[in-house]
């Protein structure tokens, strides 16, 4: 048991401090508030401030945590919306591009004297060695083998092999087994465009070294092959060099972007044996030069 009488110093301290508090409680400060009240208020205000800061910190942590949880959910929702909107945007953009292409095809179709049939590209060739595409038109639509296939940019290729009722395979012009009669639009120098394995993927053969061929000249279908109608663009001369033999080495950049073919036109003209180009109906206007 603590004997307070033996703790004289403690007792004195307690009494003195107690009386100081008592005095302070009665003494007004400069602001008119008793010192005790002011000191107590100040000290308590600090405690309150500390407690409030602590509680505010906890509140902030809690609020931020909850807020962050909400933000995370909102973020996920927004990400989902962004993804959804991106897909929709791409769809709309694709639709717009498709509409543009269709319009170009329609323009081509209406401006072309030959009968054509629009067709969607529905597949490619799984064999990398053969550059073909599959279109959604077939024999039921009047599509026959060796019919020319064109796009807004120019010549695409020709129908090959047996056709299905609602599908047909198209050998594109850049295939190494494909070829088309062509001429230089500027000089009317004739030759034959064939697919090659390097870039650019077309080469114009059988053009005399004497011919005037420059880079940038347009290469057009001549129609002498009996498949591709005369006047359709094939590509543009990228380089023209004098060859080691009789013919020039001419590299041609196709005017059709074969990597993004989606809609094409099938020229509903039965193939025929090679005939003079005058017998092949020419398009009413040169469209789709590809540039």
């Amino acid at each position: 048991m603590l004997d307070i009488r033996r703790r004289t110093g403690v007792l004195l301290l307690v009494i003195v401090v107690g009386q100081l508090f008592l005095i302070s409680a009665q003494v007004p400060s400069k602001s008119g508030v008793p010192v005790f009240q002011a000191v107590t208020f100040g000290a308590f205000a600090r405690v309150q401030g500390g407690a409030a800061g602590f509680l505010r910190g906890i509140g902030n942590i809690w609020g931020n945590y909850v807020w962050l949880r909400g933000v995370r959910g909102e973020n996920e929702e927004l990400r989902k919306q962004v993804t959804d909107l991106s897909v929709r945007l791409q769809e709309q953009r694709a639709l717009a591009q498709r509409a543009t292409r269709l319009q170009e095809l329609l323009t081509l179709q209406t401006s072309t004297a030959v009968p054509t049939l629009a067709a969607d590209v529905i597949a490619g060739n799984p064999n990398p060695g053969m550059l073909t595409i599959t279109i959604g038109r077939g024999s039921a639509d009047g599509v026959q083998p060796d019919m020319a296939v064109v796009a807004a940019g120019g010549v695409v290729g020709r129908i090959i092999g047996p056709t299905a009722a609602h599908a047909a395979r198209v050998q594109v012009l850049i295939d190494r087994n494909a070829a088309a009669g062509a001429y230089i639009e500027r000089t009317h120098s004739g030759g034959m465009v064939v697919g090659v394995d390097h870039d650019p993927p077309l080469s114009m053969d059988l053009v005399s070294n004497m011919a005037d061929v420059k880079a940038g000249d347009m290469v057009m279908a001549s129609g002498v092959d009996g498949i591709y109608p005369k006047g359709f663009a094939i590509g543009r001369v990228e380089s023209s060099e004098r060859g080691s033999g009789l013919y020039r080495a001419i590299a041609v950049r196709p005017s059709v972007d074969f990597s993004s073919l989606e809609e094409v036109l099938v020229v509903l003209v039965p193939p025929r044996s090679a005939v003079p180009e005058d017998s092949v109906p020419a398009p009413a206007a040169t469209v789709g030069t590809g540039k």
Binding site: R5, T8, I15, Q19, L20, L22, V27
Partner: protein
């Protein structure tokens, strides 16, 4: 037995001091009987009792006086404590040391009292040295008188009683 005596002494001191103050302010300013009682208790019963006595008496005095309660109490607490401590350390059984103790304690009390007031009221210490010295002298005189009465009073009363009884025996 000690506590009732101390309480009674303090109560009497308060009563007398207030009575004197009621009769003459000047006379009341020349002596502080409550302080004398506290110093007496401190010297007679030690530091703790002196401290507690000073605290209680000072608080009551402050409360009656109508000033700031605690200043007198704190001053008398300090005085009662240190008087008790010094009384235990030194021999204060003769009048002169007791007088010096009363005198010094009264000055210290006055100094503490005025200093605390100055501190609380934010002004310089208004210590009237002459008045403080006079009060200290009077307090010392009253104090050693009380000590003498307290120590010799019973003996004197006993002697007086014995003297009376002997006179009565001589008559018969």
């Amino acid at each position: 037995m000690k506590t009732p005596i101390v309480i009674a002494a303090l109560a009497v001191a308060l009563l007398l001091q207030s009575t004197i103050a009621g009769m003459s302010f000047t006379a009341a300013s020349r002596v502080n009987l409550v302080l004398v009682a506290v110093i007496y208790v401190g010297l007679a019963y030690g530091a703790v009792t002196g401290m507690l006595a000073g605290c209680a008496a000072g608080l009551v005095q402050d409360a009656i006086a109508g000033g700031i309660v605690g200043i007198g109490g704190l001053s008398k607490t300090i005085v009662g404590f240190f008087v008790g401590v010094l009384g235990a350390q030194f021999i204060v059984s003769t009048p002169v040391p007791r007088f010096l103790m009363f005198f010094g304690a009264s000055l210290v009390h006055e100094l503490c009292f005025q200093a605390l007031y100055a501190l609380v009221e934010a002004h310089s210490i208004r210590l009237q040295i002459s008045g403080a010295l006079i009060q200290a002298l009077v307090n010392g005189a009253v104090g050693i008188t009380i000590f003498m009465l307290a120590e010799r009073g019973p003996e004197m009363m006993q002697r007086d009683n014995w003297r009376r009884s002997s006179t009565v025996r001589r008559r018969y």
